[in-house]
Symmetry: C2
Subunit: 377 residues, 2 copies
């Protein structure tokens, strides 16, 4: 829909109209390699979450570096990425609507597809849709391991896996993700929450074994937790997403010991469009970056973003700022924002501008459409 002016490949950073979603491609590729290397060295499958980046070009880079495919949360996302050539997608979430399940079954006839279930009704409807279409999908039973959102209690996992098998569906394992634990600030407290979650996974897996069913795979984990799932000897697949871009919220976590470090690779380029005596106003508000996890940070300047509303961001000098970089930016100056939360920030934009050579002297190397933006259904 957007009337957006996009920069040409090879253009200088000054040619990027603001606000724009910009990737530091050098940092992104180091993150991509670091996670691929980690997974390989720890003998884990990597299936990164494309709900974060929503972009086929990036999914393909991840798969070229060893990922077995990608995850998404929504059927619409799977359809959009499949249409752009991504051929192995797992919807790590439930679909209960029969019209949607018919579309799912259609898509399963064209690409390698998986889905999660957490109810008898969901299993029954999924089986009916796949049978009607004559297509096949990997079916994971989701277990609630402490988030209190989707998933059956661990004690019920065996019975639901039995229903999956009874309906002639291909039981592929357990979906087990603790989303809330990702953002626990202290490393020790985060590990404790993960150990609790892993114990629940162990109980669920034992229940499936008792039901006489083989559990081929446990899949889950996020950027804040994957070291623990990897060490559990239960999980076989990692679903991390945010590691590729990072955000202010993940950067606020105390690092996990022995975890690879990821760099900030996602930015919103903004411009000062108004100046007061003690504040500057940039042209990027909460329609340009998500604030559900707090305000953006200002990249390498001692400035705070103190709100401003839908279309504006008000910047003030940090109280204890003392060096030359503390100065308020001038009218027309570029300011790089580090989004508070990467996933919903990406979902506000139609394109990524990929920059090579850093945010000072880099050039535009790629403009990628965000195919699954707005794919909510």
């Amino acid at each position: 829909m957007s009337a957006r002016v996009l920069p040409a490949v090879g253009a200088a950073l000054s040619a990027i109209d603001t606000p724009a979603l910009v990737i530091d491609l050098d940092a992104m590729q180091r993150n991509l390699q670091a996670m691929a290397t980690y997974a390989r060295e720890h003998r884990m499958r990597l299936r990164p979450h494309a709900k974060m980046h929503k972009c086929a070009a990036i999914a393909k880079l991840q798969m070229a570096a060893g990922a077995v495919g990608v995850c998404v949360q929504k059927l619409d996302e799977a359809q959009a990425l499949a249409a752009a050539g991504v051929d192995d997608i797992y919807i790590s979430n439930e679909v209960i609507d029969e019209t949607k399940l018919a579309r799912f079954a259609d898509l399963a006839a064209r690409i390698t597809l998986g889905i999660a279930v957490d109810s008898a009704l969901g299993v029954e409807r999924l089986a009916k849709a796949l049978k009607a279409r004559g297509s096949d999908a990997a079916v994971f039973v989701e277990v609630d391991i402490g988030q209190g959102r989707c998933g059956v209690p661990p004690v019920a996992a065996g019975a639901l896996a039995h229903q999956v098998v009874s309906h002639g569906l291909r039981f592929a394992g357990l979906q087990a993700y603790q989303g809330r634990a990702q953002h626990i600030r202290g490393a020790a407290e985060r590990e404790a929450a993960l150990q609790h979650a892993i114990n629940l996974v162990r109980a669920a897996q034992a229940g499936i074994t008792r039901a006489g069913i083989a559990c081929p795979l446990v899949t889950g984990a996020g950027t804040g937790s994957f070291v623990h799932e990897s060490a559990s000897l239960l999980y076989g697949e990692l679903q991390c997403g945010s590691y590729l871009f990072m955000d202010r919220d993940y950067a606020d976590n105390e690092p996990t010991p022995n975890a690879p470090r990821f760099e900030q690779a996602l930015f919103v380029k903004s411009q000062v469009m108004s100046r007061g005596s003690a504040h500057a106003v940039v042209d990027a508000g909460l329609k340009a970056h998500a604030v559900d996890s707090g305000p953006p940070a200002i990249w390498r300047r001692a400035l705070d973003y103190v709100g401003g509303g839908d279309e504006h961001g008000i910047l003030r000098r940090r109280a204890n700022a003392s060096d030359a970089k503390e100065a308020l930016p001038d009218l027309g100056e570029t300011v790089w924002l580090v989004p508070g939360h990467c996933d919903p920030t990406v979902n506000l934009h139609e394109h990524y501008v990929g920059v090579r050579g850093g945010l000072d002297l880099g050039v535009v190397e790629a403009v990628w459409p965000i195919e699954a933006r707005g794919c909510l259904g």
Copy 2:
């Protein structure tokens, strides 16, 4: 970008795939008429803010009911709405970038266009761009009347108006909006903030008169404040936007005495896709509705939305619920959400589904593209 499945005109509500942005057209039209009547009876021009709805079809309905045109905040929004046939647009915000100003001057050659300024540099660049293109625009001087965001201090308004005139630009009046005051809960406290703002407008206007310049119009006001601007005898034009749809945040305000009442007209249709023993999970998270002003309310049910993340909403029974409607919804059931904040919620969606006849037995009457969604620049 979205692979969205859209309902046919005439379809039942069950045909609307979730999550979807739905307008109760009956309620919207009552809101539209109530504001149009208020403006006419109070001899105020009405120029509703299209930054809220971002939709040409709705802008045209407002203009057909008497609005002189619409406001937007961004050049990209103006371009998108102009391309869809809206021919009188005021950008109630500053543009400092020279590339953008060249595009502004192009657009000013095609439609009736206005813009705000709050700096000498902005005036100089605007004059240069309009002169280069040979086009004309209405230029408003923005005054900061208490929000601490854009705008010059009232004492500086006369000097900036003088610069506008000196550059051969058409000075059209004052832009004077107090955004923060819109959401002050108590009616008396809100009125006090507005009276302070109005006193600052009076000071700015006096400064312009002292500079020997006529001030043709003061434009501003929002859904939470317009009764006060109308009573001030200073303002000549109202810019309210949210009155058309409303949201949970505006509904939480204590009503202004003697103000027309507006009804909730904007909803996110969601569906229960997972059920626990004491909670239900709907398929609409913070990628389907904005949470900057808090969570959505649940329409006509004693349920609370207690988070859930990017793609999920967790619903729980309200502690004090006691009637039949308190029951948790079943798997597959429809739940109507009232967004916390309408503007950024609209900005997440590609289409409106307009429903006639209410949310129980209505039918789809219209599907409107949201042309200016994602128009950030």
